[in-house]
Symmetry: C2
Subunit: 123 residues, 2 copies
Amino acid sequence: MSKQPVDLARPAELDDCRVPLVAEPLTASQAERLAPSYKALGDPVRLRLLSLIASHEGGEVCVCDLTDAFDLTAPTISHHLKVLKEIGLVTAERRGTWVYYQACPAALDLLSTVLSVPQEAGV
Amino acid sequence: MSKQPVDLARPAELDDCRVPLVAEPLTASQAERLAPSYKALGDPVRLRLLSLIASHEGGEVCVCDLTDAFDLTAPTISHHLKVLKEIGLVTAERRGTWVYYQACPAALDLLSTVLSVPQEAGV
DNA sequence: AGTCAAACTAGACGCATGTCGAAGCAACCT
DNA sequence: AGGTTGCTTCGACATGCGTCTAGTTTGACT
């Protein structure tokens, strides 16, 4: 394992990133911590994977169901899930033969907050 | 100009993308229209550029000010600004000698909305 | 043990991307 | 006109990334 998860949910690491980008300029280090997360969302397959996981009732999805939803090989799906996992947007849990993925709402919420536009800014 | 701006502000093109990713699975076409925008944010330099522009009072920034904020050459900054412009996150306007960039709040808001997590989802 | 299926890892291949130096445009000056 | 500054385009280079095939691990079931 070359990279370890960034863990967007951990306050100590990223609470100082929880500021709308519109409110004040991001520092270089804030930008460097946030950019990889947006990059992870910058692939259509990963966006759909995350959405499939996050919107699934029960809050988790088996890999086999995810693989079926795409015209891609299993290793490719596995690779994308690994990216999402390492960035802290999802977690994985093995139960018997199958592996289930869950979304991390806190991580999503942080990324949403950074892009949010206050009302008075005139959307 | 090889690509033209995606224009995230145009309702006809992207209003059907204005749905939280957590609410229901993104379709393939939705994901393919949204992913390039997140990819554009997936670089620390572009994130900071966008933040510098969006948070600047007056709502616009001259390129020269942006270039000074980084340890990069002018062509590189220009390249990143072009990416942000083509994706519809900023607009550019020349006034005399200088070029000013403005942020597009509507585009930002869309990307924020897609990542937003409803309260009851338990952040 | 042997087998099968689910999922991941390893390695390879081609395309995309970030960066730079050099050159080109555009607008302002003498 | 000529020169200067601000910004962009062009072309090149190294690196990164998405995808695949082939092989490996993990667990369940005979």
